[in-house]
């Protein structure tokens, strides 16, 4: 499955439906689609508030979504999620996997006009590596022994031990973003890099304004400016699109996608996947130490019905959190069908007869559909004789209670679809993984994920990860539910939207977007 198959440009759909209606509704997009026009300001209703604008430090998707347009990375991924050079021209990895030699593109300029050189790369990487910077990706450089710059356009990185996912990790999370030497202190307020747009203005909570960088190495963008207006209230954002105050919005409220799609005056871009969701059981909580309880819980849930209920059908269920189009995705797995009676029996076998389990389910209001999910779960669990009580938490409280203190019994969370399997499986399911807030402690998984790190051969590595997925499923360490669609709603004159979504499904790239007259 290629992710491109999921990318639907709604203009095509509209074209189909327009045939029967009057020509008045013919979107101009169809008429002028293939001749990009330079100029114009795109007003984007951004679904979240940007915070720290330092690409190395920020861990929030909101800031990354914007900063993607200001920064370029040494490497990035193509549509098939293969690592490709971006600011590097070529990459040479030694056979022992310990030495990486990057040859940089020449003539790349920062927004201040200075050329990008190997010293900037060294500066950027060392900044991320330094724990004092507080960079989210600092562990990417854990095995890096030295960074050398033999000349202006060559960077040589020597590893102390093999780290197979190094390159792909470098393509994610701003780990490979290059900033000019010495600009670290000002990145948080005035980000600067060598991306297609220059940072122009930031009004906290209100707007981030970017303007075209004419000397961009890959050719200047079409748009003069992008105004990213931050409107976190979904109804308000939608109204802004409908009244024409906004050219485009990301994250159409799930229940409204159908409505907007049916509106001939608007276009919808939706893609798959944006993120995956899974139900978490705290492995330190006694009942959940028994795999039978976890499996029984999995059996209680009808994932498809839940997806229709909570996501209004805007997604696809999946038994594994592995990236659906990645080679490592285990296609053999099938989600357990709902079997309330079976679950009851299994629970009774595990020593928890009907009515004996009283469980608090913590859900964060940060994701309203988590609340809906939880409410539906309560009904099914009641049928299975498990009393579920919901506790709604703000984002801060969820992070503090569930993520940091691991003080919960059940919860659910989503992660942006992590296409890089080491980042995904090691961080989330390895007993020492940074994102293992459930306390999963499975020697099998620990062994497999460690082994994958030392496996240089891609196909071989993919098999290891398939085994990991099998183990997670068999033990029901977590209940993986689905991958959710990403959506963009736009006025018909916003063009080039097929290029806007970054392969990772989260970031938006406005380089090739243009406004028809």
């Amino acid at each position: 499955m290629k992710r491109r198959d999921f990318l639907r440009n709604s203009t095509a759909l509209i074209g189909g439906s327009v045939v029967v209606s009057s020509a008045m509704f013919m979107p101009t997009a169809l008429l002028a689609q293939d001749t990009p026009v330079t100029g114009g300001t795109l007003i984007w209703g951004h679904s979240e508030t940007t915070q720290n604008l330092d690409i190395h430090q920020t861990g929030t998707a909101s800031s990354s979504r914007v900063l993607q347009n200001i920064h370029n990375s040494l490497v990035t991924v193509d549509e098939n999620l293969g690592v490709i050079p971006q600011l590097a021209e070529s990459i040479d990895v030694s056979d022992d996997g310990l030495t990486y030699t990057f040859t940089l593109r020449s003539g790349v300029l920062f927004h201040d006009g200075s050329p990008m050189t190997s010293t900037d790369v060294k500066y950027s990487f060392e900044r991320v590596k330094d724990p004092a910077t507080g960079a989210v990706s600092f562990e990417v450089f854990n095995n890096v022994a030295s960074i050398d710059t033999p000349d202006d356009l060559t960077v040589v990185i020597t590893m102390s031990s093999v780290n197979a996912p190094f390159l792909s990790r470098l393509a994610e999370n701003g780990a490979g973003a290059i900033i000019p030497v010495g600009s670290g202190d000002t990145q948080g307020t005035t980000p600067m890099g060598c991306g297609p747009f220059k940072f122009a203005r930031y009004e906290v909570g209100n707007v981030v304004e970017m303007e075209r960088f004419d000397e961009y190495w890959d050719g200047p963008a079409y748009l003069d400016r992008v105004l990213a207006r931050e409107i976190s209230e979904s109804t308000t954002r939608l109204t802004g699109l409908r009244t024409g105050e906004l050219h485009m919005i990301n994250d159409i409220p799930l229940d409204r996608v159908g409505e907007i799609e049916a509106d001939p005056n608007l276009q919808v871009v939706s893609w798959f996947p944006l993120n995956f969701d899974f139900v978490n059981m705290n492995h330190n909580y006694e009942p959940f130490q028994d795999a039978r309880v976890r499996i029984a819980f999995d059996m209680i849930i009808d994932k498809e019905a839940l997806m229709q209920g909570a996501l209004w059908g805007q997604g696809a269920t999946s038994p594994s959190a592995g990236y659906p189009s990645a080679a490592s995705y285990n296609t053999d797995l099938v989600q357990r069908p709902q079997d309330i009676e079976g679950a009851k029996a299994l629970l009774a076998e595990a020593g928890y007869p009907e009515g004996s389990l009283n469980i608090v389910f913590k859900a964060t209001t940060n994701y309203p559909y988590h609340i809906e999910t939880a409410q539906i779960l309560v009904e099914w669990f009641r049928m299975a004789g498990v009393n579920l009580t919901i506790e709604q938490l703000t984002w801060a409280d969820w992070l503090s209670q569930c993520w940091i203190d691991r003080d919960y019994q059940m919860t659910m969370m989503n992660f942006f679809a992590l296409w890089e399997p080491d980042y995904l499986f090691y961080s989330v399911w390895n007993s020492t993984g940074a994102f293992n807030y459930r306390g999963v402690n499975d020697p099998v998984i620990d062994e497999l994920t460690e082994r994958a790190r030392g496996t240089v051969d891609d196909a071989e590595r993919a098999e290891v990860y398939k085994a990991v997925q099998q183990q997670i499923f068999d033990e029901a360490h977590d209940i993986v539910l689905w991958f959710r669609n990403g959506t963009i709603g736009a006025q018909p004159n916003v063009m080039g939207l097929d290029t806007v979504v970054h392969p990772n499904g989260s970031n938006l790239n406005f380089h090739k977007v243009w406004l028809a007259a």
């Binding site: 861990g59 724990p131 004092a132 910077t133 909570g205 308000t236 703000t394 801060a396």
Partner: protein, 315 residues
């Protein structure tokens, strides 16, 4: 005497402000979680967070942090927001101005609706007009203000298209635009404020209309219009404004929800973001500033009362 009165009030305001710093600082430090956790979100890991925490100065003893905070505020150094990486003083400056527009506008709307309605009710006390007016006023407060906010967005922005649905415009750049953007949230807030003000206007006016000087005015042959709207209202303005001043505190609570809804980035929004993100310096600053503004507004209202009512003017 009125100067001493002002100084007196000022002194008690300063004392209360000091108590407010203590409460604010104390409470914010009981809040679970911290900003490092919020900056990193679900991408965090313990080591990275420790580094960030140290670089943000979150590890100092509390008393040092309190001293640094109060000392900084006194010397004008309000520090930086940890989450937005901006100087707090700059942020506050922008956001207070934004909220001031809404506060003033919603209060103006509320007063210009509530005063006539309240007077009307008082004049026709215990008649159908009274019931109608109280019910109309109560309708505003019967539904939460975010409900009215959404209704405003739907009616005035989406269906009628008269006003923008969201956002904030700097009045220095586009004054009319700023007013247009502030109008809908102000209207929604005004409806909520109106109920109490109508009630107070009614009861104040009822009392005043029973006063002897109203009978005297009538005995002079003055028209009822003059008696009520000039003789009566001139006496009611003071108490009504005092209530309006007290409402400002309530208003600063309401704008938290309303500014989020309209994506109108003012003090309410900033405070809420600070709270959500556990941005301690920003929480402390915003909460303190809101409390201070509320107190100073009440002081101002008292002084205004002083100017309006000659009885208090002298002592």
């Amino acid at each position: 005497m009125s100067l001493t009165y002002v100084l007196n009030r000022l002194l008690s305001v300063i004392l209360t402000l000091f108590l407010i710093t203590l409460v604010t600082f104390g409470v914010t430090n009981i809040l679970p979680g911290d900003v490092a956790m919020m900056i990193m979100g679900t991408q965090s890991n313990p080591e990275a967070m420790a580094g960030l925490r140290a670089s943000l100065g979150l590890d100092d003893p509390l008393i040092v942090q309190y001293g640094r905070w109060v000392g900084g505020m006194l010397t004008g150094d309000w520090g930086n927001s940890l989450i937005f990486r901006q100087p707090i003083a700059v942020l506050l400056g922008e956001k207070i101005a934004a909220s001031a527009i809404i506060v003033v506008m919603s209060m103006t709307i509320a007063l210009s609706l509530a005063v006539p309605l309240g007077v009307w009710a008082a004049v026709h006390r215990d008649k159908w007009q009274d019931t109608t007016s109280s019910s109309a006023a109560l309708l505003g407060v019967s539904l939460p203000d975010f409900f009215w906010g959404i209704v405003m967005i739907l009616v005035f922005a989406r269906w009628l298209g008269w006003f923008p649905s969201s956002g904030f415009v700097d009045p220095a750049e586009d004054f009319m635009g700023a007013l247009r953007h502030a109008f809908l949230p102000s209207l929604a807030l005004g409806l909520g404020l109106m109920a109490h003000l109508t009630r107070m206007t009614r009861s104040t006016m009822t009392g005043i209309l029973e006063q002897e000087f109203i009978r005297v005015a009538r005995a002079k042959g003055l028209a009822e219009r003059v008696v009520v709207w000039r003789y009566g209202l001139a006496n009611a303005i003071g108490p009504v404004i005092t209530i309006a001043g007290l409402q400002v505190g309530y208003l600063f609570g309401s704008i938290i929800v309303m500014e989020s809804l309209f994506n109108y980035t003012g003090m309410g929004w900033l405070t809420y973001q600070a709270l959500l993100n556990r941005d301690m310096p920003l929480i402390q600053a915003t909460v303190f500033v809101i409390a201070a503004v509320v107190m100073l507004t009440n002081l101002l209202v008292d002084l205004l009362y002083l100017a309006i009512d000659p009885r208090i003017r002298l002592d």
